[in-house]
Amino acid sequence: MHRRKIALRWAIGVFFGSLLVLTFLSNTIQSLTLPKVAVETPDTGSLDLSVDAEGYLQPAYTAQLIPLGSWTVSEVKARKGDRVKKGDSIVTFDTTTTQRSLEDEQARRKQEQIRLEQLQDALKLLMRGDDQDAIERQKRDMESQQLSLDMEQRKVEELERQISDGQVLRAPTDGVVESLNVEAGANVSPGQPVGTIASDASGYQFVISASGDAGDALSIGDKVTVQVDGADAPQTQTAAGVRGKKALSGPDVRQLQGTISTIEEGGDGADSDAKRVTVDISGTDLSPGLKATAYIPRQSQSPGLKISTDALKSDDNGTYVFAVTDKEGPLGSSYFAEKAYVTTGEQTDDTVLILNGLGPDERVVTDASEPLSDGDRVRLE
């Protein structure tokens, strides 16, 4: 009887003891098997659909510098990046070759002139007789000779014009020398551009990419605030076209007003739904290659809860997120992931606006160590 009592005492002790140990370890056991999730609490407010993108200024119109003859460059008067006024000389040529052909042509014109005079003398002789046919023939020869003389005259004039106009290559427009690919001594041929000048008058443009609903919200003609870094000229000279306050980020930053001129599908990446947006800006003292930052402020139409797009999932019934609910217990809180179907609003690359279906205090699962299903118990990271 006594031994039985001892055995029973042991059994009771072991039973309660093992349950105590299991209770002590229960959270540990569970946390080993539960999926681990990362959560975030949504921010309330409107979604910022502002576009903030950078691009580099390109001239809207570029004038080409084309020499008129096959000459040798004698002097390059401007350098790449120089600001030039219309009519400023940029390249001068050695026009000796053309000069020589001009002299040849002038001599040829003289020859034609002499031949015409000879025909006139011969006509005078014929006029004394009355061979009407011969007179007529002589007159036609003279006419033809006159035409040859005119042609020669035009050749001479053309060469003269080439020399006077082409000897100095001048800037066709106000602007900045964008490229100049000749140096003294180089040979050029007519029709082949030796450089380009970015026209000031035509303004500048740059391309940015805007994705998601922020891109969709843009339309052609929208006004855009553009910040241009490192304009050549000092701030005091900026005048027309410069609006808005000066940016605080440095003395070399200016704010200009731009306009969206084109919007095209297709951004940089193949998979992205980004749009290529071209913004025109005009202003003095702009030059190609300056960094421009476009800022297009825009808020979503209605406020809602902002969550990460990672949290958004969808199935046959619609779009949902996993919201984490907790149940208090003496063994600590336990967390459960529950499906919450939501109505989504505007969306950017990383944030989506939830209009309906979610409370502001709910925690939303953004990442899980394994696939979740509705009602799964989880542990928080």
């Binding site: 299991l22 209770t23 959270n27």
Partner: protein, 301 residues
Amino acid sequence: MMAWTASLRRTGACAKLAILIALCAATLFPIALTVTNAFMSEREISHHYGALADSGDTSADKDASAMPTKHVSIRWIPERATLEAFGDVLFNHAKFLTLFWNSVKLTAPIVLGQTVVGTLAAYAFAKLAWPGRDKLFFLYLLTMLMPFQVTLVPNYLVAQKLGMLPSYGAIIWPGVFAAFGVFLMRQFTAGILDVYLEAARIDGAGHFRSFVHIVLPLVKPGMTALMLLAFTDNWNMVEQPLLFIAEPFRQPLSIYLAQIAEGDQGVAFAASVLYMTPMVLLFLYGEDQFVEGIQRSGVKG
């Protein structure tokens, strides 16, 4: 004539035995079934007891066409004995452990308190002479005669007045001062011969000394009986926690067993076995004293 009487007595004894065996089998049947089924896998349990879970939803049951009427097939022997269900209860149902300790937290103070109060009150009722003693004891007994469901509402109102709702206090305090403990212990204490106490008094012992050194050792079997009965009573309580405790995770295990059958049935058998284990162990431990106690007090178990 003698032979006839003897054979009649033997037949009577056989009949008595048969009736007792039948009653015993009927009593043990659910317990044995619970224990054996606790070793079945979840799949096996839901196969045999699936009809219980469906609760009239005929469209959901694919076997409905094959079986003319749905029925529960009672199986004694598991196809493959496994401890799966026990593991499931202990490792995956943290709620089971929580509620188990809730039960302990509720039951232990009641059992201990009732024993202390009962023993002390019994000494006063049985061994001290004071005016109105028997009338007061009679009043006390009256509360015991009423089913506790009747006193549940006044109980609730008093607990509310005392600001004990919702808390374990609302269950523990009425349990500690339950009339049954006082009654049982009085029967015991009354059985102690007065000469012992007189002898002690002559030797100079006060009430406290007589109580501790004479009464307590003599009523030990009674205390064991009271503890076991009180433990069983309160370990199994359902109504009070439903009424007095709001949060589900603070409910005792007895409530959990009522909820568990909804979902996983395999777990229910294992949880039941674990649920009755402390009762069985404690009973076996105090068995001889318990039997002696019940016999001496004249109370049926």
